[in-house]
Symmetry: C3
Subunit: 390 residues, 3 copies
């Protein structure tokens, strides 16, 4: 590979402000970071033993340290990076990491937030970057269980709440069905759904935590949300592929979503497949044949070392550049947003640069393709108006 | 990678006439091509929105434009390519695209033809390239539904028709089971088959279109055809992996074909796995352990940009070069035959060149391996006599 | 890729004595090898047609010939290699192949041995390399069928025998469940297990061969062995991914093993996933999120040509270097041990070298990572004391 080609592409996008179509709230600063906290931010593992003993030996974390150290101007070691970031002013540190490369707007799934997270309004003020909401479907649907007498009422209330959220300014809906059920979608059996709902309703009445799980409940909500998104003309974000071990990776191939692509009910619906790895070749196929299929690689890029770069090249086999989206899927610490943003541009520059070097694309086409991925495709499918993006 | 090694391999095969073991009829010329028609020829999408808005941004189409422009001597843009090809004489244009690289014989699945397609005899005269027929199993079996009283009669008639077709000069049988059923082959339940056949028979009696679909009908026909091919000593071509969205990609892994490889009933049967991507690593495994398994990458090469080159390298991990076949899977427009043929040689040259550069193969062995893939393996498994190949 | 970086890494490990955590007994020498025997040692095929007609055209075998010829100082052809090895003194020939690169200890699955195999004690004397036993679960459990009256007794006897074996000095347990059942683990139905055991017991009583197969028997034994390994604090080796065609590759993804990783019953159990290809990306994911998951690529490396090198790079995407193990999975002929050992180091040097060249790892970190993979990780999970390793 010709490194100059990739460098030239990176330079051409230097002032290109990206749309991060899928991320989470930042932690309210100031705060100090420990080694375990930083490591935990670069792994999908939930068991602390991974952060304690293994993350340090992963290519993703090492690449992250290298990129952060370069910006902070310190040694590329965990200790040096932590020392430097913890003694710096939190706001200045964050701004430095969020400004370069620049982001125009963040589409934020706030369903994963905690009391120490920024609200969207706070985050917009604190970062100077426009913020738009993505509604997390399951969180919303769980809150409505106790107000409904049967699945029909519950699903109607969920759809009404989605409409309300979009009218209030949210620009899309996200489902984490992959964490709660199989993505091998099946028609919902009414009887099973009724029984599952009754059990959930009982928990709600008793004040117990309500957690949507299992195929009948999750698929029912997903199918309804898909219809509502189609009618509201907003994208449905759908986590597939790898994630934390709450999900069974074997059940999360995007190929299982076929009913959403071929059933005329959903005609016109835009679906953004999130993560996708190691099913990115399959996701790219869906993007190549179904008008409504879009995809991103999100955490594959900052978590998988050079494998994220390979995934990008493999994706650009079947997936048109008009169907690929940029996303950091970052949360809490500015380090993650920065590493995701930097590596995405590098991965894109290498993948498109390879196409230039191999005489598949002209340099101009490669520059334009990068702009599609970094911002234009997202602006198009989320119908982002100039006012949406600061 | 050392580009010189690949170039030397390409040069060594310059006069090697390929056996295209799997393609379709050309459209009868003269005809003019629109941008949408050309784009539609380089995608598996059926929805026109892909050709209208996305194919232009796919690496496969861009690579195709580059290759075609080089031969036509024009700018590598869609407009220039179309202008040049549409004002040229159709026959001269076609000959130019079909002659370089040269093809010795085309094995043609005519089941996909339309009134505007050449017959095989016409195509042989028009192109100067020998043509041999591949029988499309499902088309043949569908036509025999109305003449049979039960599944047994129908399957017997199908086998008789296959025998007749082979005796008449066809050299193999192709199944598109992947478009009609799952490739996770299961023993056929006689009762289910009987019911499915009765329903199909009723449609035939009423003059309604008869379309073979579902596991019981499709697997029954496939198992019978496999036995017949084994007895007739001709290969069975089996589409697996990606294709147009009529198929569910999740159901098309070649690993589901295991019964055909381990059941002694089929001992000696040669199966050519077509397409395979993204299951080419799995297909290569089958080729490595089962004597009767062969494979091609067909449309992976012209449709998937540099990913087709990667698929070729990955395939040559487990798949011996004596098991890989060349196929264009092209139809209608000479541009597709040309791009498929050119890129296959390039992909092969790079994959084998990498093995030379890494001291795995000698140059001579790599040249010989290319000849196996381009022609010798197909000549062997289809028992092509010198008279078959003009 | 910068070849110098890889070469420097290889040189740094020159005197690093590896732990081969998963291999088989050598054939008692002296013996002469035929071409078919050597070819059969570099393929998973069982049908002799592969060795007769295809293995010669596989990248894996060609790479093996090149490596062996280099050491023997002869032409890299099959004939020259066989001539040279067959006229040399068997012991000297074997020592030459086993000494370079050096091995500290072999963990040997003797369940695959034959009368012509060395015992472990003989092998230790003959090779000068320390040998430790890995117990093959299914072989052991089969031998205990006839002494038990019901599944409960049989499973208890199996666990007792495992305890005894470990107390006697074995350092781990290996399951070949993938050859006998699906790896999509399911809770065992007691009734089905009872019936399956009765049938097996009847065979044992009649003196017929007892072969453990089917999900209920194999999963029951696997779950019990997993519990026993956890209590004995020894790793459970679990063959997944490709192998000989007795297994159905579609059923051997490591993702099916999820119950072993999430059920608290097995908390603390260390599982070494063997082979993994083409599911190595999935295996790497398991290693990244579950504390007890470890993996090797074993036969992927000597059998899959340059694809083995790619699998190594892809594995080091999500898999920390503290979770990857070296294994030859070699048996019978010293040529296989040598080729596996050499290519593993090369593949590791290239994958880690790429990380150095791309500024992800420092050279020192890459050297240290190689040591983890070659020996340290295995020493840690098998609790190998200095006395275990000669």
């Amino acid at each position: 590979m010709n490194r100059d080609t990739a460098q030239a592409l990176l330079a051409s996008w230097k002032y290109e402000r990206a749309v991060d179509h899928h991320c989470h709230p930042l932690r309210r600063w100031p705060f100090q970071l420990t080694a375990l906290e930083l490591r935990s931010a670069f792994t999908e593992a939930l068991d602390p033993e991974l952060a304690e003993r293994h993350v340090l030996y992963s290519a993703g974390y090492q690449a992250a340290l290298q990129r952060i150290a370069l910006v902070l101007g310190c040694e590329p070691t965990e200790a040096a990076v932590l020392e430097r970031r913890n003694r710096d002013d939190s706001e200045r540190h964050t701004r430095r990491l969020l400004d370069q490369p620049p982001t125009e707007v963040m589409l934020v799934d706030a369903g994963f937030s905690s009391p120490e997270s920024f609200t969207l309004a706070e985050q917009e003020r604190a970062t100077g970057i426009a913020q738009r909401e993505i509604i997390r479907l399951e969180t919303l649907a769980e809150a409505l269980v106790k107000t409904a007498n049967d699945p029909r009422e519950w699903l109607a209330a969920t759809r009404a709440a989605l409409r309300e959220g979009i009218n209030r300014g949210a620009v899309g809906v996200k489902t984490i069905c992959a964490y709660r059920a199989s993505l091998k979608l099946q028609p919902v059996d009414t009887e099973t759904l009724g029984a599952a709902f009754s059990a959930l309703r009982l928990r709600a009445e008793r004040g117990q935590p309500v957690r949507l799980a299992g195929n009948s409940l999750c698929h029912a909500v997903l199918f309804e949300a898909a219809q509502e998104c189609q009618q509201l003309d907003v994208p449905l974000q759908l986590h597939c592929g790898f994630g934390d071990p709450d999900e069974d990776l074997a059940e999360t191939s995007p190929l299982g979503l076929r009913p959403l692509f071929i059933d005329p009910t959903y005609r016109g619906l835009r679906i953004a497949l999130l993560h996708c790895y190691p099913y990115h070749r399959e996701a790219a196929y869906l993007c190549a044949v179904f008008p409504g299929a879009y995809m991103d690689l999100s955490l594959t890029i900052p978590f998988a070392g050079l494998e994220g770069f390979r995934a990008m090249r493999e994706t650009l086999g079947l997936c048109p550049t008009s169907k690929l989206l940029y996303a950091s899927d970052a949360s809490r610490y500015p380090e993650v947003y920065f590493v995701a943003a930097s590596l995405h541009r590098e991965a894109l520059a290498e993948a498109l640069g390879e196409l230039v070097d191999r005489a598949v694309l002209s340099s101009d086409s490669a520059v334009a393709a990068g702009r599609q991925v970094l911002a234009e495709n997202a602006r198009h499918i989320y119908r982002l108006a100039p006012t949406d993006t600061g």
